[in-house]
Symmetry: C2
Subunit: 246 residues, 2 copies
Amino acid sequence: MTYCVGMMLDEGLVFMSDTRTNAGLDNISTFKKMTIWEAPGDRVITLLSSGNLATTQSVVSLLDERTKSPDDRTPSVLGVPSMFQVARLVAATLREVIDKHRDAGQEADSAFGATLILGGQIAGSPPRLFLIYPEGNFIEAGADTPFFQIGETKYGRPILVRAYDPAMNFEDAMRLLLVSFDSTVKANLTVGAPFDFHVYQKDSLTAGPHGRIEIDDPYLHTVANGWGSALQEALESLPKFSLPKG
Amino acid sequence: MTYCVGMMLDEGLVFMSDTRTNAGLDNISTFKKMTIWEAPGDRVITLLSSGNLATTQSVVSLLDERTKSPDDRTPSVLGVPSMFQVARLVAATLREVIDKHRDAGQEADSAFGATLILGGQIAGSPPRLFLIYPEGNFIEAGADTPFFQIGETKYGRPILVRAYDPAMNFEDAMRLLLVSFDSTVKANLTVGAPFDFHVYQKDSLTAGPHGRIEIDDPYLHTVANGWGSALQEALESLPKFSLPKG
């Protein structure tokens, strides 16, 4: 399993992904599920992936190769003129990879599937955020649905629904995401730290702060330990329930 | 879908269930998913059900009928000598109902399945709490796993994991459960108020406070509205995240 979130804020975009992959419960590994493509001054694109690792790595490698040779940049995520075109290109590549392996004797229908979150900005347009389905179609975030989750989305959703605010700053958004990720990790063994993140400042057109929050990161520990007592206090702050007579 | 929780506390047992059932998204109804059997001074038994409504109603009716005629009380949930025997009886009845309809041309493998939470106390023994699977086997709650959830369990789980404490009193447990239910309702359309509850005081051997928290219950509204800001404050109470340089 996997847990990734892409979030649209007034200030820009925030992305976070876990790094655990597993084939069964006795075969777990750490893989990066976040890819950042950057052409400073022109565009920054971030891709988060969940699903079959062979599929998502193949998609990323195919897209990546085309960005390396300038002559072959069309179609490339660094060459097409709009984020919508980037989304179409990524979605088509995903569909192509899945279809190729589906024909090669796939047993389970969804085994080679993958779902992606794509976000970024190209000079001259605002930042955009997409959720790309394995079928190769996609939806875009807007004011009503300003963040996307993929993978094991349920445990971490209530806090996002309650606390997300488009006006929040990047530091608060990162804290919120870490709480959401911590809630998920506590409940599902197939989601795990370290967590990768990327904070993209709107109109900067260069990759923002990004990196990895390691499993022994002191701040992560503070959040994990502090959240339990913070929740207790939140519960305490609600009025008492009065039991009716039995 | 459904959401039910059975919880073991030092003081006794607490049960809560939602009441929404649906066949598709355009056919929703309200049904009670909680059954209480009581023989004051001897035993109190509570059953929560999730899954196919025809199956769970059939199980409850079969068990219920046997409690009505004293001559036919063995095997009956009011006749057998221990909670373990009650669990075996309920589990066997569940299995029987599922098997009967499975043979009758079921299409999906799990369509007639159901999962139950069973808890109660019989004079001379401590309260016990069981989770009964559609296959007719079951597990019992203990100090390590002191509560069971069935149905749409994920959204409401993080708060239970964080805030459950066996020493909490019934009022605090009810408040915690309402927060957990509210988080689930906010995320899944197939779980909905009103909520039924039963609070069983250990060694009382009579049904405790029980009833229905209606959709327009003022306390439920207070929890639903207050929890958002309480969570915001809980987040604020955690130390700030500092972004590294980009």
